[in-house]
Amino acid sequence: MTPVLEFDRITKRYGGPFSSRKVMALDDFSLTVNQGEILGFLGPNGAGKTTAIHLAMGFMRPTAGAGHMLGKPFGDAPTRRRIGFLAENVALYHRKAAKVVRFYGALNGLRDPQLARAVRDVLDTLELNEVRDRNVGKFSRGMMQRVGLAQALVNDPELLVLDEPTSALDPLGRVAVRELLLRARASGKTIFLSSHLLSEIESVCDRIAIVSRGRVVRIGTTGELLERADLSEIVARGIEAASFAGDVNEEGLVRFRVFAAQQRSAIERVWTSGGEVVRVNPVRRTLEEIFLELTSKSEPPKPGA
């Protein structure tokens, strides 16, 4: 697959040479986002997610390492015309919604009549047409976020970089954005999505990268992350639950977990006990469990790093 966004061993340290407060935001950080996928970027506060996004957008420079976006080094201005970006806590100029979107579209080189059409379409898509003549300064945070999304989408970007796109939206707004992301992927766009909302990440992303303390601690497809290869769940009937350390469900079936290496012997024990194996599945965990496990066991940062 062609990498659309690539972080190559990037380190970012805040604080100048004379600063007493130095913070290592990213530490030898590497990550690749492939064409046509939605990559979910998960991490606790302070993990370095926003720093990584700001580096990709060229808002800051790495202390070490390099990165590429659509084949060009981070910060290349002409390449940004092909990107749609939504910042966390979106801040826009206070004027009419349609004019705000038009302004950002024009900054990307769009001109009438293409610009007028793009503005109308994107306002339609995000259901903002009714408020197109209202000043965004009077909008709620959720509405402001929609306008932020509109300015990110107005140039029909190849790559969308979204930092918490649904953080201020109500459930209906979240569903709408989720559908929009899926439509964008279906039309061949690549999406780099940072979010705290695990359910959102789990439902739309092809791959998930979990970042903690400036490093990617786990990356894989959603299926790979959620299914534990080392643990299986066996459901059987006709056996004593106590002898298998299992529990009995409403249908009277006994359910117990074993390590994958012991799966075969456990099944044989069921048979020798006169029982019958109903099903064997890899244990599927929630993203929340994985997230908590990975982000809580990371090493603390080195003092003075």
Binding site: T51, A77, F85
Partner: protein, 227 residues
């Protein structure tokens, strides 16, 4: 660049309108009363030119900081816009605001004195002086807080003025800050004329500071993660 400039003027419209109202009300009052002496009119033109100098310097010094503080700069620079052009847009915006201010001074002055012949070079000279102040303040603001940037710009231009006065001769043109400010505060004095050479050096100096500001701003982090 022009989009950024127009947007900047729009964002700064209230302080600009307030300053313009001051010029219009103060100057218009003098023009309408008619019985005032020419000294009053000259005093108005001189003082408003110095206010304009301070206004332009502060406007330029705070431009980058305001955009970063409000985080609006992120959406703007996420588009296909080079940092140099963005900075150019902000400077052009400050100069458009200055041009509106100078045009108002010119119009009010013309109404009060009917001396269009001398007011036009005065307005042009003010534009050059404002351009110099704006670029120096903006260059300092790429690394300093706006207040420190304004103070640094004032200090630099003041030191330049002192050096020019001490050296005299051709240095009064090469280091033009003193000459331009002197002509602004002595506008209307006998023998007043547009200091062409000083204006040319001021434009050159502004270009140097502009290049310096662009070089620094292109390398600077504009966003620190809020995490």
């Amino acid at each position: 660049m022009f989009l950024i400039a127009v947007n900047f003027v729009r964002e700064q419209r209230w302080p600009l309108i307030t300053l313009l109202l001051y010029v219009v009300v103060f100057g218009g009052g003098i023009a309408l009363t008619g019985g005032q002496s020419e000294d009053d009119t000259l005093f108005m033109l001189r003082s408003t030119s110095i206010y304009g100098l301070a206004f332009t310097g502060l406007l330029a010094a705070s431009a980058i900081n305001n955009e970063c503080r409000t985080r609006r700069i992120l959406a703007v620079l996420s588009k296909g816009l080079e940092r140099g052009k963005y900075l150019g847009g902000l400077l052009l915006g400050a100069m458009i605001a200055s041009a509106v201010y100078c045009a108002t001074i010119f119009a009010v002055g013309a109404l009060a004195t009917h001396k269009v012949g001398i007011l036009l070079p005065f307005a042009l000279m003010l534009m050059v002086l404002f351009l110099l102040a704006a670029t120096v303040a903006m260059a300092f603001s790429t690394v300093f807080h706006p207040l420190l940037a304004s103070a640094s710009a004032a200090f630099l231009l003041g030191a330049e003025g002192i050096a020019a006065r001490a050296l005299g001769g051709v240095w009064l043109d090469i280091l033009p800050a003193w000459t331009l400010v002197d002509r602004a505060v002595n506008f209307g004095a006998p023998g007043w004329h547009l200091p062409w050479a000083a204006c040319a050096w001021a434009i050159l100096q502004a270009a140097i500071f502009w290049a310096l500001a662009t070089a620094i701003f292109s390398r600077r982090d504009i966003a620190v993660a809020i995490e």
